[in-house]
């Protein structure tokens, strides 16, 4: 979209944009080029210039069963986390949207967990859902070995998904509540006149009308689950990717491989795969959501 009344100058806008453009070039594009370069080259073990190795880094990454493990873990994490947050947010938004007396404070409270950093939340949940103390200890006392995220990878994965869902449920709640409020009141009232109860109205009118919002949240939350800053922080401070790579999500693996394994080429190859994934998500988001396919 163009403004009719635009100022005519070429150096002034460049000057205005310059500070941010410099930061972007320095800290986004230059590193991105380095990732690209590293992904296709390999540094010789005893020094010297990096050699071009074609797709060898990718072959090595794809041949590693631990890589595919991290893909599976990431997929499970993002998918379960997304579905959980959207489900919780949707149910709560439907409840609050009925505007029964006394429901106003809830709307305020549900967003609070979103203020907490992933790592801080993760550490608190290490206590809350610890096998030896906190809430799960009594359950474990009755059924020994029922819950132990330090021992079982699947339990640890559930733990990090819980932290993720706890933090992000308020976020989806906000968007879904905003979406619900744009559903025409007359439609709901007409349904009520025809004898639809609140649950029927939710299922047959409100949720279908929310389809664009739900789809938007699905894309946003999947992106967040795969590459969000929180995903790394939660995993790092809650389970450290363990036990036995049970929560080794893709971003965690990349950072670990780069800074602990010092395998820049392998990490860069994995980064490129992830960047490709984000591009797909971003494309979907702008291609389909900008269009706003409305339910009619």
């Amino acid at each position: 979209m163009d403004k009719r009344a635009a100022f005519r100058s070429w150096w002034l806008p460049s000057l205005f944009a310059l500070p941010q453009i410099i930061l972007i070039l320095l800290f986004f594009y230059w590193p991105a080029v380095a990732v690209l370069r590293w992904a296709f080259t390999l540094e010789p073990p005893f020094g010297g210039a990096a050699e071009f190795v074609g797709l060898a880094n990718f072959q090595e990454v794809f041949a590693d069963p631990l890589y595919w493990n991290s893909v599976g873990v990431s997929l499970a994490f993002a998918l379960c986390g997304t579905l959980a947050t959207i489900f919780i947010g949707l149910v709560l938004a439907l409840a609050v949207d009925r505007q029964l007396p006394g429901s106003a404070p809830f709307r305020f409270l549900y967003i609070l967990p979103y203020a907490i950093a992933g790592p801080a939340a993760g550490m608190a949940f290490r206590f809350i859902l610890s096998p030896e103390r906190g809430l799960m200890a009594s359950v474990n006392a009755a059924f020994p070995d029922f819950w132990n995220p330090a021992k079982y990878g699947s339990h640890a994965l559930i733990l990090v998904i819980v932290v993720f869902a706890w933090k992000w449920a308020g976020y989806t709640f906000i968007f879904l509540l905003a979406g619900l409020q744009s559903v025409p009141r007359s439609l709901i009232e007409a349904a009520a006149m025809d004898g639809c109860g609140p649950i029927r109205r939710a299922v047959d009118i409100q949720i279908p009308m929310l389809a664009p919002t739900l789809f938007f949240l699905l894309v946003i939350m999947m992106t967040e689950g795969f590459v969000g800053a929180d995903t790394y922080g939660i995993v790092a401070r809650t389970t450290d990717g363990g036990p036995n790579h049970g929560t080794d999500v893709m971003v965690y693996r990349i950072v670990e491989e780069a800074f602990r394994g010092l395998n820049y080429s392998g990490a860069s190859a994995q980064s490129l795969v992830l960047i490709g994934l984000i591009m797909v998500f971003t494309f979907i988001q702008f291609r389909f959501i900008e269009r706003q396919v409305h339910y009619k």
């Binding site: 979209m1 403004k3 009719r4 009344a5 635009a6 100022f7 005519r8 100058s9 002034l12 806008p13 460049s14 205005f16 944009a17 941010q20 930061l23 972007i24 800290f27 986004f28 230059w30 590193p31 080029v33 380095a34 990732v35 590293w38 149910v91 439907l94 029964l100 809830f106 409270l109 549900y110 967003i111 609070l112 967990p113 907490i116 950093a117 790592p119 801080a120 939340a121 550490m123 608190a124 206590f127 030896e132 103390r133 906190g134 809430l135 200890a137 906000i174 709901i188 009232e189 109860g197 609140p198 649950i199 938007f216 800053a229 922080g233 401070r237 950072v255 820049y264 980064s271 984000i278």
Partner: protein
Amino acid sequence: MIQRTPFANALTYGVMVFGFLLLIGPFVVIMSGASQTFQQVNAIPFSFLPQDRLLENMSAAWTRASLGTAMLNSFVMASLVTVGKVALSALTAFAIVFFRTPLKGFFFWMVFITLMLPLEVRVVPTYAVAADLFQPVRLLISAVTGFEVSVDWNLLNSYAGLTLPLIATATGTFLYRQFYLTLPDELAEAARMDGSGPIRFFIDMLLPLSRTNMLALTTIMFVYGWNQYLWPLLMVTDPEYKTTMMSLVALLPSDNGTPDWNVTLAGSLIIMLPPLIVVAVLQRWFVRGLVATEK
């Protein structure tokens, strides 16, 4: 509404209370755990009753993880990041929206593509740039002119290093852009007719008009800045520049030490408090910012 629905109403209240337990419950556990003694916090079953040791535990956590420095650093970092983002994105969006220049498309896409490059996937080379800021410039100069220049400036262990790489923001720029696009064309026309140049127009008309947007952006960006984890972890080795997210590690009971989770929880409560206050007090703006930046 026009119906009597006692069952659905009861269900609605049930859902809301359940949601409350689910989302606010953890805060209650953290707070009561943080106010208990070492024995109480490890008791089975866990007691939800708050005790009277909150302040002692907090001060123990404060000294153990030297939270004084960390809180100050986090505050400085979050504020600088916020101010930088709010200011630079306003300028960039102004350049993109209000000028007729062939470069505007270029600026727009430059900013847009950063959405696809989150820190986690370019973390090593970004670190390399921060550790040697003039590396790109040097390479460029030696490629163009053939001279080797030796200027060194690294950002490790400094506020500049903590903040500069985080200041570029696509979401902020697009928030301003959306807002500028909603302004009527007549506004800029009137300003031009009255003889105002672009800078005057920006300072005297755009900035006052975008006050609500700025406040919304400020709240979300402050929370964003405070909650940064990975970047400070890499940038900082000097304890003087530690941020709160890094002191979480120091708060954790060691594997073979005493499991004094009461102190750990009290410490994490202190760390959670500033963003929590921002979201609670400025919630209207925070929510507005969230919804607006994702459009």
